[in-house]
């Protein structure tokens, strides 16, 4: 496509080349075709043996280890942080000759009120795993813009270096793309140095075409990552949605040269799922996206299943519940 390159991140929406807006309005995503692709992509690649073990360990380094519950307290956040630092039993890593690779999860993800706990715990564990905080009225986003922005600033002040914001779904459903762009731009500013991950809550956007458009707007407004869902909607990270978002990321890269990251979240529980996600990224975007700077998996129970699979790979036995430390 011959649209001019523009560094729109620095400009308000009105200044953005109108080519982009007219182009976004023309985009059509064919739902049944994407569903078929989603089915295929899971069946066409598989990794076995050492490849599987290595891929699983890599998957660990993509995990945003998450706890987002009403009953979170400092003790379970602390336990989570230790698990983030030591995600796989040391002897298993040794057996794979991977003990010196410093395998940790990519980040720890908590509610804003728990950011301090997480930062403290990670400091105590002696590591520099970043702390991510959800913000902007998570998960519904139905609060005043002013408080949503304030939430971001406070989380950053507390030491969160990654902010997972939710977008205002009503702006998407009513087609107010400029307003959506302006809001995310304000989130971006409020984040300052912190990374901005924009949660599209795709289960509530109505159509895949809207998912594509919202992804584009979020990237244009300066998100470092786009993220599928909060984990609190009825429909979470699904392959069809991911395919559309990944295609948007690729299109954005082809047009601007900027690589934007992708984070599926919600519903990814098994090691098998994790492998499918990795191969999806590899197929749709390529190897250069397979690093924690550009790919994260938001999950809480996934890690223990991966550890169980690694255990099986190393020992040839299936682990009992008590064989692996809880998180």
């Amino acid at each position: 496509m011959s649209l001019p390159l523009a560094d729109f991140i620095l400009y308000p929406f009105a200044v953005i080349n109108h080519n982009y807006l007219s182009w976004i309005s023309k985009v059509q995503v064919n739902h049944p075709a994407v569903l078929r692709r989603a089915q295929q992509v899971q069946a066409r690649r598989t990794v076995k043996k050492e490849w599987q073990a290595a891929w699983l360990l890599k998957a660990v380094t993509f995990i945003d280890l998450t706890t987002l519950s009403g009953d979170d307290t400092s003790s379970n956040v602390q336990r989570l942080c230790y698990k983030a630092k030591y995600p796989i039993r040391e002897d298993l890593l040794k057996a794979l000759n991977m003990h010196d690779k410093d395998i940790t999860t990519a980040a720890v993800c908590v509610y804003p009120a728990r950011v301090c706990d997480a930062v403290r715990a990670l400091k105590a564990a002696g590591c520099n795993i970043p702390v991510a905080s959800v913000a902007t009225g998570f998960p519904a986003g139905q609060t005043h813009l002013k408080t949503r922005l304030e939430e971001i600033r406070l989380a950053v002040e507390d030491g969160a270096t990654e902010i997972d914001v939710v977008i205002n779904r009503s702006l998407v459903l009513t087609g107010q793309w400029e307003a959506l762009y302006d809001e995310i731009r304000q989130f971006r500013k409020a984040c300052g140095e912190a990374h901005l991950k924009t949660i599209l809550a795709t289960g509530e956007l109505g159509s895949l075409t809207n998912v594509y458009k919202a992804s584009m707007i979020a990237m244009m407004a300066g998100s470092d990552f786009i993220k599928t869902s909060t984990g609190k909607e009825t429909v979470n990270a699904t392959f069809p949605v991911a395919i559309v978002m990944l295609r948007a990321i690729r299109d954005f890269f082809w047009k601007t040269g900027n690589k934007i990251g992708f984070k599926p979240a919600g519903g990814i529980r098994s090691a098998k799922d994790a492998l499918a996600w990795l191969s999806l990224i590899k197929e749709e975007l390529g190897d250069e996206w397979l690093k924690p700077e550009l790919f994260r998996i938001g999950a809480s129970t996934l890690l223990s299943d991966i550890e169980r699979q690694i255990y099986h790979h190393v020992t040839g036995r299936y682990a009992a519940y008590h064989d692996l430390p809880m998180s």
């Binding site: 064919n30 049944p32 075709a33 050492e50 290595a54 002897d91 298993l92 000759n97 590899k282 020992t315």
Partner: protein
């Protein structure tokens, strides 16, 4: 506990590169099965292995390693005869069973396949080199669905297909590069309706033999499915066996043509499914990324046998090519039995074919792009994209082989249609457009057997699959697939009517001179003189006429002596009238047929003077009946795994040539004309030779009532006119009711454009009986099916 030492030396490295590793699928069970046959495969006939002595055998090799897996016996004529004999014996019992019993048997076979599916898919993938994923996830489930669907059809047969009976023993010939699924598409309907089958499988293809063994091990009805392994050249031997009523062939176009010529006059039905090229039409309103996946589905996922012609709208050409090339880079080629490859290998022949095509295209100025993760050793061929191939180059006309995609641009939808319809191929196509109106316009107007909207390569047992033009007009799946193996009850079985000494070069070539033949004694009102072409009576090009005598030898009058030029003119006129007639609603067509019936009624007294009254009355009724029947055409199919409908359209054949029988000069003429017109065809007719005048009289009404060129009637020497019509490349179908020799010639000559033909082989037909004169068979033959897939979702 301490971790034991099942260490992974490479894990560190893979952790950094994140590459794919080998994901081999064990083929131990396939080898074990081959061992049960001592690595020596024969034929499977009458529920037993047949391993005759003193036969040649060919090795069955792993296409990737070249390792010898087994040796396969090559059949000789006796073996074929034995198989046909088994099928004939089994037929007696099988065809008379209640449908419910056959349904039960097919269901049992489906369960048998389910129980041994791993063996089936590993064997198929091992031997053919196709990606195991495709065989396992698509072919094997589809094979079971086919059996289940056709079991249901067998169950309702007595009710739904009353008036039809199974043809008998069916000979099936399949090409070397095929999957066992292609065979299943054909044997399921044949078995369901009560036929028995002899399959000539290419040498060294064990999967069909395994299937036959599974069917045989069900115990009951052993002889219904027999497999003979041998070269395609045995096809005519199979066809010539007494008892074989129909031969179904799928394979290359030229082989099909040859077979058509060889089997002319042998008295059996031949259905052809030829060529494997597909077409993908990508408009600017498409979801381009999804369309690119469509291209992958069509050629680079081991699903289809052939290549793809890709038409891209100019405005999205660059974007599409970029995406396509990026996508190609991620394709993986490798051993078929690896769980993570997109494409396997297809053996040396397929690879050489692709290579030759690419070299030739390059030498004609085309750009060739190849990509993908392809092992460097020999049996593999990379996914290939060819562009800038000059449309006039010889390469652009030939069929695109696997795994090639030939891309060319178009400017408008109209141009795309002209390009797509401008090839002799009429198999399958997909249209990619998010604009509903445009997609439907293209879908309806593509001359193809199957059209998918925003998808490619979907199949379902309930949806008829077939083609038109040189792709052959045979169908499998859905109701159309059943009729392929049925004939109207009471149709006489095959009679050998071959005249060896029929000279195809001279048949009907010379027209005997016509001379004055004494005084005319016809009725005072002389019928119009001339050929009825383009809506009016015209003098024949030859400027001569032929005398018509009545049964007592009295000269009745003269009719024009038509020739090759008149046929040409008539076909042209019919083509010009076609778009207008196709565009008419069935209701409007029925109204015009009704008007013609009324006019015929007014003429009744004049006509009845020469014919029996009964014939006029019946003719009037036929015109009205077909007008009414044409209203109910086509329907919507529901498909299990698809959201959205599939439309089964009944489309006109185009220009239909009809050579009417000598008997029943008016009734047969009208009985053939009415269904043809009702289904939207335009026609060129040759009326009764002995009594052409009633047909010409009807034309006087046609001239005033129907659009010009819709009906054209050419009188003259029947053999000569038949020759002209049968050899005419732009006649889309031909019905012939005449002599044995004429029938044989028509069958032989139809190989030119592979037009569907219907011949009577010299047998009379009871035109005054509704079953033969106005039965559903005429309606079936008067139109062709198209399946239009419309997936939905938002």
């Amino acid at each position: 506990m301490a971790a034991a030492t099942r260490t992974a030396p490479r894990a560190r490295e893979i952790f950094t590169t994140l590459e794919y590793g080998p994901a081999p699928e064990s083929h131990a069970c396939a080898l074990a099965w081959l061992d049960t046959q001592d690595r020596h495969l024969g034929h499977y006939v009458n529920g037993k292995w047949l391993k005759p002595e003193r036969r040649n055998s060919v090795p069955c090799q792993d296409p990737i390693t070249g390792e010898n897996l087994a040796s396969c016996l090559q059949a000789q004529a006796e073996d074929v005869a034995a198989a046909v004999e088994a099928a004939r014996t089994a037929l007696e019992n099988w065809s008379t069973l209640p449908g419910a019993r056959r349904a039960q048997h097919l269901t049992r076979l489906a369960k048998m396949i389910q129980k041994h599916q791993r063996l089936l898919w590993t064997l198929e993938s091992l031997v053919t080199g196709r990606a195991v994923r495709e065989v396992r996830d698509r072919d094997v489930p589809l094979a079971q669905q086919l059996l289940q669907y056709h079991a249901v059809q067998a169950h309702t047969q007595e009710e739904a297909l009353a008036g039809w009976e199974p043809m008998g023993v069916i000979g099936l010939i399949v090409p070397p590069t095929f999957s066992f699924l292609e065979m299943m598409w054909r044997i399921c309907p044949a078995l369901a309706v009560g036929c028995t089958v002899v399959v000539l499988v290419p040498p060294a293809s064990p999967a069909p033999l395994l299937l036959a063994q599974l069917a045989g091990e069900l115990g009951s009805f052993p002889g219904i499915l027999n497999m003979i392994s041998g070269p395609t050249s045995l096809g005519p031997v199979l066809a010539s066996q007494p008892g074989v009523q129909k031969v179904a062939f799928c394979g290359a176009v030229e082989e099909g043509r040859t077979l058509r010529r060889t089997l002319a006059g042998q008295g059996l039905e031949l259905s052809l499914a030829l060529g494997a090229e597909s077409l993908l039409l990508l408009t600017e309103a498409a979801d381009v990324d999804s369309a690119v996946e469509g291209v992958v589905d069509a050629t680079w996922s081991d699903r289809s046998q052939g290549g793809l012609r890709l038409l891209i709208q100019e405005s999205v050409w660059d974007e599409t090519m970029t995406r396509l090339q990026a996508r190609m880079g991620r394709l993986r080629v490798g051993r078929g039995l690896d769980g993570a490859v997109d494409m396997g290998a297809r053996g040396a022949a397929a690879r050489d074919l692709a290579q030759r095509y690419v070299h030739e295209a390059q030498s004609q100025g085309a750009q060739v792009f190849q990509a993908g993760d392809v092992p460097s050793d020999s049996p593999f061929y990379p996914p290939t994209l060819i562009s800038d191939l000059p449309p006039a180059s010889p390469c652009a006309q030939t069929e695109v082989p696997w795994p090639l995609v030939v891309a060319s641009p178009f400017r408008t939808a109209k141009e795309a249609l002209a390009v797509a319809n401008g090839t002799p191929r009429g198999g399958s196509a997909s249209v990619w457009s998010e604009r509903l109106g445009q997609a439907l316009e293209l879908g309806y107007r593509l001359r193809m057997g199957i059209v998918w909207i925003n998808a490619h390569g979907l199949r379902d047992p309930a949806v008829p699959t077939g083609g038109c033009k040189e792709s052959g007009s045979s169908w499998h799946g859905g109701p159309d697939g059943l009729y392929e193996y049925l004939r109207p009850s009471g149709t006489p079985a095959r009679q050998p009517s071959l005249s060896e000494n029929l000279n195809y070069d001279t048949f009907g070539l010379a027209v005997p001179s016509t001379l004055p033949a004494g005084p005319e004694t016809g009725p005072s009102s002389a019928p119009p003189y001339g050929l009825f072409v383009g809506g009016r009576f015209q003098a024949p090009g030859a400027r001569s006429s032929r005398p018509i005598q009545d049964s007592h030898g009295n000269l009745h009058g003269y009719v024009a002596e038509g020739g090759a030029k008149d046929i040409r003119g008539a076909v042209e006129a019919a083509h010009q009238a076609a778009p207008g007639w196709v565009g008419q609603s069935p209701g409007a067509r029925a109204a015009l047929l009704g008007a013609l019936a009324a006019a015929l009624e007014r003429r009744e007294s004049a006509l009845a003077a020469r014919l029996e009254r009964h014939g006029v009355e019946l003719s009037v009724r036929r015109l009205r009946a077909w007008g009414a029947r044409a209203q109910a055409q086509g329907h919507t199919l529901q498909v299990a795994e698809l959201r959205g409908p599939v439309l089964r359209l009944r489309e006109p054949l185009g220009v239909l040539a009809i050579v009417c029988p000598d008997e029943w000069p008016l009734l047969a003429f009208v009985s053939l004309l009415a269904p043809a017109l009702a289904h939207g065809n335009t026609v060129v007719l040759v009326p009764s030779g002995t009594c052409p005048i009633p047909a010409l009289e009807v034309c006087q009404d046609v001239a005033t009532l129907l659009p010009a060129g819709l009906v054209n009637v050419v009188t003259g020497d029947r053999d000569h006119l038949t020759r002209c019509l049968a050899l005419h490349q732009d006649v889309q179908a031909l019905w012939y009711f005449g002599s044995v020799q004429g029938s044989q010639f028509v069958e032989w000559a139809s190989a030119g454009n592979l037009k569907p033909v219907w011949v009577n082989r010299g047998l009379p037909r009871a035109w005054d009986q509704d079953a033969e004169g106005a039965g559903p068979e005429l309606g079936l033959r008067a139109a062709q099916t198209k399946a239009l897939w419309l997936p939905m979702g938002d």
